[in-house]
Structure formats: C-alpha cells, structure tokens
C-alpha cells in the first residue's frame, strides 16, 4: 500500500514515497520416505573410538534391527510466516529506509526423536516440535550527492533474528545438524535456539539447576551459596584446579545477536566506480577447538607459562571462583595442558569464545572504457576493468585464525574451529567486454 499516494504528499519533499507491506504464507514440508517401515541394518558396529565389527562374521551374513523405530503416524510440517514492513523514501529519494519485521512459526516439526535405548530402538521420527523465528531487518540508503558527474551512495543494513524451540515433546533434547564426533553437538532443546551446543563444561555455580553434583557426591550449589559466589563462578577443587562436569548442559549457541553491513560507492565522471563493503557480525560464539588441541601438544603461545605458578580466577581464567581450593596458587604444567586445558579432554565449553567481528569485506575500483577505440579495436560497446580486494581486514576479539572458519561448512552445526583454513584475502582483476 503506497500510502503517500493517499496522503498526496509532495513527491520531491521530505516524505517522497512510502509503502506499507504485509504478507502471510504457509508452507509444508513432507517427511522422509519409508518411515512407517521397520528395517534391518547391515551397518558396522562401532565402538566409538575407531574399532568396529561387521555384523557379517566369517561369511555368515548379518542383519540387525535398525535403530529407527517405525512411525505410522507422521504429518507434514507446517511453517507459517507473517511479514510486515515499510519502505520509505525521504528527501526526494535521497534517503530510503526499509524496515521489515517477520515472525514465523513451524509446527509439527519432524525430528528423529531419541528413544530410550532400553526400548530396543534409538530414534523415532515424530512431529515433536515447534520452532519460532522472528526478527527484524532494517536497511537505510543515503545518497548525499547525486550529480551528473559525481554521485555517492552509502547503505547500511541491520538484521536481528531470534530463534527458539518453543515446544519439544517426548525427549529432553534432539541432536540436530549432524554429529561432529567431538561430543560438541548442536541440539534442539526447549527454550533454546536450534543448534545450541549441549556439552560438558567445568563445574560452576548453577543456582536453580538440579544435578550439579561432583563424582564423590558433593553438592556444588550448596557450597556455592554458602560461599555467596555469583552464578557461573568457577568451582576450584581442593587441589587448586577446576573440576570437569560429569553432566552435559546447554553451553551456548553459534547464532549472532545481530548482523549488518555498511556499503558505500562513488561514481565519478560516469566512468569510475569505487565501492567498499564492511560486514559486521556481533554476539556469535565459536568453539576454539584448535587452540585446545595446540594446548595438548604444547605448541600454543599459552603453554609458554608451563612450570609457572598461577591462581585460577586471579591471573589465569580470571573471574569469580569458589570451592575448597579457591585462591590457591598452583603450578600450571603439562598435566594441566593435557588434561582439562586440552580440547581432547572432552570438556568443550571452556574453549568457547566471542567470535564477533567487523570485516572490511571488499574494496573495489572499476573503470569503464567507452571511448571510440573500444569499438574499433574490440568491436564492443564498452569495457569494464575492475580491481577488487576481498577480506582485506578483520577486527575481532576471537583468538583463533578466523571467526568465520567453520568445520562443518554449510551444515547446521556451525561455529566450530578445528584446524580449518581461514577465508582467503584475494585480489581480483576483472575485464569484461560488453557488446
């Protein structure tokens, strides 16, 4: 609805154009085939560490009941999304603003729900969940100068998305997005975004959470409240070191709080075009498994403190601490870096880092040749020459090699840094000839 037409505002005035948009749609997704049928599997039995045995032994063909229980009652998923937005033009179209708010709900989401193995099956496809996705996207473009031989445009975009599993029937959590083999697996769990990490942390104060108990039966929350330590404070055992938690908890998720970009372009004399793009992502977290592995091998700079004395909470992993060994100085040695200080130990949460970044994504300069010699020499209308540089600068607090280096590529399990390569900085020279 172009409401400025109704208001009959001046097309060249302050509010030069305005539009209101609204949309609603529903889509469905069908389940995978053959879910109602039981099946026998021939896959190898793995022991979790590499060794495996084939169900076929000594040429006797082997079959066994597959882990997926037949599901005769599956409905398709439904996704309903509503979108509201407005596009405004201001100051004779020198500025335009677009704002969109969307809210989508997927119901009857089909998950391979984990079943208790004591039923004889490991999973069953079920319409078990509801996921909501809502967010806002804002884009603003300025055109401060628009003259015949010089124009300049600046654009900004901001997007924020909130995702939550609002309902999950039949299981506490569902593995989602493929397993990485590190135990640091993304899950769908009620009350958290899809793809949240369900992993082991060091023992901390978790007031209000049940099952915060050490292997010898000590109630951690009781000690924490007696010591008046804040939530999240690190528990220090009597030997002066933290203790690994024996229970998995939601430790974070890779999704950013917001993303955005800023772009600008200049056109000079109709032939030169200069542009730049800055990408911003804030609030995302990343598991720096690479650092944890280098700790184990003693090759990271952090391990240069080997043999030196540190106190947890003060000058090493600074933060609040409590427990029988709190504020005791200890010697940080190979045993630490190959134990709890290593990502091989199975405790992944301590290696989560803030992976927010601001990157100078691209700067490019282009020139269009339209002179007569282009037509006579090349037989073409014009030729564009463009020099661009990509991924030129990165500003981030992340200590790993690149906050965008991802182990799993486009898989739903994101935010894992495990000896991946960073995005490359590149310079590209392009010639394009237009007839």
């Amino acid at each position: 609805w172009l409401f400025t037409n109704a208001l009959k505002t001046d097309e060249h005035g302050v509010l030069s154009s305005g539009k209101l948009r609204a949309a609603y749609g529903v889509t469905g997704r069908e389940p995978a085939p053959y879910q109602v049928l039981s099946g026998f599997s021939t896959a190898n039995f793995g022991d979790g560490w590499g060794p495996f045995l084939n169900p076929t032994q000594n040429n006797n063909g082997g079959l066994y009941t597959g882990g997926s229980r037949p599901q005769p009652a599956l409905k398709p998923e439904r996704n309903g999304e509503m979108e509201l937005g407005t596009d405004l033009g201001l100051f004779n179209q020198k500025v335009d603003i677009g704002i969109t708010y969307y809210n989508g709900k997927s119901t009857d989401v089909i998950f391979d729900l984990p079943l208790p193995p004591s039923t004889g099956y490991s999973t069953q496809a079920q319409n078990a969940g509801t996921i909501t996705n809502s967010g806002i996207e804002v884009s603003v473009n300025f055109r401060p100068v628009t003259r015949a031989n010089f124009s300049w445009e600046i654009g900004m975009m901001y997007a924020k998305n909130t995702n939550e599993v609002t309902e999950l029937r039949g299981a506490d959590f569902v593995p989602y997005g493929g397993t990485t083999g590190f135990g640091f697996d993304p899950v769908a769990k009620k009350g958290y975004p899809v793809g949240s990490w369900f992993d082991y942390d060091w023992v901390r104060c978790r007031p209000g959470e049940a099952n915060n108990v050490l292997d010898d039966g000590t109630d951690v929350n009781a000690i924490c409240s007696a010591a008046k330590a804040p939530a999240g404070a690190l528990y220090i055992g009597s030997d002066g070191f933290p203790v690994g938690d024996n229970k998995r908890r939601i430790v974070g998720n890779p999704l950013p709080k917001w993303t955005g970009n800023v772009s600008t372009s200049l056109t000079v004399e109709r032939h030169w075009r200069i542009s730049a793009l800055v990408d911003i992502r804030q609030g995302s977290r990343m598991w720096n498994g690479t650092l944890g592995a280098l700790h184990n091998f003693g090759t990271s700079k952090d391990t240069e403190i080997r043999g030196q004395s540190r106190t947890f909470g003060k000058d090493f992993y600074a933060g609040p601490v409590f427990g029988p060994g709190a504020n005791t100085a200890v010697v940080i040695d190979q045993g630490w870096f190959q134990g709890l200080g290593s990502s091989f130990s199975g405790y992944g949460a301590p290696f989560l880092e803030d992976a927010s970044f601001t990157k100078l994504r691209e700067v490019s300069v282009a020139y269009t040749f339209e002179q007569p010699w282009v037509r006579s020499w090349l037989g073409a209308q014009s030729m564009d020459v463009r020099l661009s540089g990509r991924n030129l600068l990165t500003k981030t607090k992340y200590s790993g090699i690149d906050p965008e280096a991802d182990l799993a590529g486009t898989d739903a399990s994101r935010g894992l840094d495990w000896f991946g390569n960073p995005l490359s900085r590149s310079f590209v020279l392009t010639f394009s000839i237009n007839r």
Binding site: P33, Y34, L37, S38, G39, F40, S41, N44, F45, G46, D47, G48, P51, F52, L53, N54, P55, T56, Q57, N58, N60, G61, G62, L63, Y64, T65, G66, G67, P114, L115, P116, P117, S118, T119, G120, S122, G170, A171, D172, F173, G183, Y200, N211, V213, D215, D216, G217, G244, D245, N246, K247, R248, N296, Q334, G335, Q338, S342, F344, S345, G346
Partner: protein
C-alpha cells in the same frame, strides 16, 4: 474438437483414477529398496555375536581394565580416564546401546521368537540374553529389564538383585532347553561353539556361577550356589567361550584395532606387569610384548607414554585374529577354589588352585590357609582374567588387588559403577540423573573396609 476433447477426457480420466490407486499403494511404497524388512535367525545371531564382542571387549572393558590397573591409559583422553577424570555419562553410551538396541537384546528376543520350536537354538539365545543383561546389571546395578523391548515407551528400572534372580531362571531354562537335545540349532553360524549343546550347557553353568558370585558380597550364602554351578561349568580349556576374531577387516580383535587406531593411548598397567614379574609367571611374555629397552614394564595411572619402559600386548595377544576369552576354565575352576575356601574346605581349595597353576608350569603352593589362601586364589584369578570385566567384578567384591585409587575424584573410591548412559537419560524420565544415582550398586554395598588379604581396603569408601 469439443467431442474429441470429451472422448479423450472420458478415456483418460478413469484410466488416471485407476492408476492413482496404484500410485498410492502397492509394493513400490511398501518395501524400502534400501533396507531389508526381514531377517533370519542366523543373520540376527551373527550380528548378536559381533555386537556382544563390542560390549565385552570394547570401550567399557578398556575402562575397567584401567581401573583394576591391568592396563593403563598413557595418552590423551585415556590418560585422563586412568585418573578417573573425564568419566562423563556419554562414555557409557556405546555399552548401554549394545545391551539393548540392534544386535543386542532386541535382536536376541527376535531370535527367540523366530526359533521358538528349536529348543537348542532357543537355549543358546537365552544364554546370550543372560550375557547381555548380566553385564548390564554388573555395570549399572539397577537396570530396565522386565518391561524393555516389549513396548513400554519409557521402561522402568528393576532392582539389581531381581534382575540377577530373573537371569538365573533364564539360564536354568536355557540349560533344560539345551539338555532336551531336540532341534538343529544354529550349527556353524554359531561362531562360539558351532552349536555344540554340551559346551553351551557348561557355559551357562559358569555364567550362573558368575551371577551368584556377583551377589556374594552382600549374601555369603551365594558362594555355595556358585560352587554347585561352577562344578558343572567349563572345567576344561576346550570349553572356553572365546569371542570370534579373524584377520578380515570388520572381524579383527578389538584391542588390535584400538592399537592400530590409537597406538599411544594404552599400555600394560605397572601394577599387573610388576605382579607377573614377581611371580615369574610365563604369562608375562604371553600377555605382553617387549618395551623399547628389551624388557617388560607397565605404566602407572596417569603416566604419559614412555616407549622405553611401557609394554604393549605381545604379538600373539595383540594379533588381529586373537580370540578374546570371555568365560574360561581357569576362571571357572578358581571360582570352585574360592567357593571351597569360603565353605571351609581349605585343602580342596588349595588343590584346585594348584591345579590351575600347574597348567602354566607354576609350582604348587603349600601350607596356605585363611586370608593368605584367599589372597592367593584371587591373585590367580586376577592373572587369569586379563582384559576381562570379571577382574573388575572381583575387585569390587573382594578388594583384591588392594590397589591405591589413582585419584580422589570418586571420593577415594576406585569408580564403583558406570553412570547411566546419556542416551537413556535424555529420553527416559524414569532413570535418575547423575546426582540421584546410587554411589555403589546394591550388591556391591557396603564398601569393604578390609581387603581379602586382611589389610585395610584402600579403594572402597
């Protein structure tokens, strides 16, 4: 034109509707071309045999071997496990899954229903059931049994003692099924005994002896039952229950595979290697290979790998085709010896023990009584049950060997049980979470204050 269209419609519409019916039903939709929907008992038995191998000789047994210090973890996670750290509920997912899901109890029950008329086959399947669930009760204590598989969507826990009692009945049924002598059985598909009824009956008796023995800490009367069963059990090495193994990929011995995959992670345990050296036991070279310095040595818990000192398994023991023993005549006969001792029959116990020793060329011991004799018998068992979960069961029952716990993580205990697996906890609200699980299993309570040798027990609190 209109008539043509009408005629075309009249012809195609009913054809189309008829074709629709086939489109929505029929064999193409009812059969998954990627997966078989039927299996024979033999196919299931082959899977069960392989899967049981993972349960009995896989990650769970690697842990218990470290806990009783027959083996040691020397790198990465295994080094930490040896110090009782990093033992999270996910560690027990593979063993738990092996017990119940594909290749485990669900398929043992499938075999039992497929072979209902063949008493030999049925008896063998029942023994497998007791092997799986018996191991589960040993490791986890209270486990789901009565309402599993059959359809309860969230099975409840049954008391450990009740599970053992149910398994004793199951094994007695198996023995009478096998004793009936009818039915052809699995024949050569059975890779353990090739369908030999007598050997399966003996194995079932030894298994019954084990399960009685496991309850004896809290109930001393069980020793007499264990004795009766063991005397009908595997008394000769030709009846040993060995896991299948061959050099073929997918059939290789699991310790061999583990060494190939993760060669720095484990070595022999210092306590055990030193014990074998002190005994001058020929099994030192049968079990272990030479270290870098040309001798034998083991690693202490938490010790990093030192190739000059630490031994891996011997060439024979570590070979891909080494068939890992699960139930042996040595173990069975030492059960007899111990039960005779417990009944007060000292001379018979001594003679039985010496019989086992002599098979390895070890001189007979004389003049032993009381705690010294018990310790000697348990020491023989500890040596015989190398890489076998039974060594861990014996440790919990008797505090032999009286090892110093590798760390204080479990409050001064050698880890007394497996935590319930995370894959069960996530989907079954009837399973208590870590903070509410018992510290020790019911039959393993109370913690022993005095070890078998009469000294204070160091690893049970």
């Amino acid at each position: 034109m209109r008539t043509l269209r009408k005629v075309a419609l009249c012809i195609t519409l009913p054809l189309g509707l008829g074709a629709c019916k086939d489109f929505l039903t029929g064999p193409k939709l009812d059969n998954n071309p990627n997966q078989s929907s039927q299996a024979t008992a033999g196919q299931l038995l082959s899977s069960v045999t392989a899967n049981a191998n993972i349960l009995l000789n896989g990650p769970g047994t690697r842990l218990t071997a470290m806990w009783v210090q027959q083996m040691a973890g020397t790198d990465r996670q295994y080094q930490t496990f040896g110090l009782y750290q990093g033992l999270t509920e996910s560690n027990y997912d593979v063993p738990w899954g092996s017990v119940y899901t594909g290749g485990g109890l669900v398929d043992v029950r499938n075999i039992e229903s497929l072979v209902a008329g063949d008493r030999t086959y049925l008896g063998i399947a029942k023994v497998w059931e007791a092997i799986f669930v018996g191991n589960a009760a040993d490791m986890w204590g209270d486990v789901p049994y009565k309402d599993v598989i059959s359809g309860a969507s969230v099975p409840t826990l049954d008391h450990q003692a009740d599970v053992y009692a149910a398994l004793q009945t199951k094994l007695s049924d198996a023995i009478s099924d096998l004793g009936a002598g009818s039915g052809t059985g699995p024949g050569l598909v059975d890779l353990i005994y090739s369908g030999d009824r007598a050997k399966w009956i003996a194995a079932a008796h030894t298994l019954k002896a084990h399960l009685y023995l496991h309850t004896a800490k809290a109930n001393a009367a069980a020793y007499a039952s264990a004795l009766t069963e063991a005397q009908q059990g595997i008394t000769n090495a030709s009846g040993n229950f060995l896991a299948w193994a061959s050099a073929k990929a997918g059939e290789e011995n699991l310790w061999n595979q583990f060494f190939r995959e993760r060669d720095s992670y484990m070595r022999g345990g210092k306590f055990f290697v030193d014990l074998l050296k002190a005994r001058n036991d020929p099994r030192l070279s049968q079990y272990f290979g030479l270290n870098g310095a040309g001798g034998y040595g083991g690693a202490a818990p938490g010790e990093g790998l030192d190739g000059a000192v630490h031994s891996w398994l011997s060439a024979a023991r570590g070979d891909a085709s080494f068939r890992q023993p699960f139930l042996t005549s040595d173990d069975n006969n030492l059960i007899i010896a111990e039960a005779q001792f417990r009944a007060g029959n000292t001379s018979a116990a001594l003679a039985t023990m010496n019989g086992v020793r002599s098979a390895y060329g070890m001189a007979a011991k004389t003049g032993l009584t009381g705690a010294a004799l018990l310790t000697a018998i348990l020491e023989e068992k500890y040596v015989a049950n190398f890489q076998n979960v039974e060594a861990y069961n014996d440790y919990r029952r008797t505090c032999y060997p009286n090892i110093t716990p590798a760390s204080q993580t479990f409050g001064g205990n050698v880890p007394p049980r497996f935590y319930y697996a995370s894959i069960e906890l996530t989907a079954n609200p009837n399973i208590p979470d870590i903070g509410s699980q018992p510290r020790r299993n019911a039959v393993d309570s109370p913690a022993l204050t005095t070890a078998a040798d009469g000294t204070a027990c160091k690893g049970q609190k």
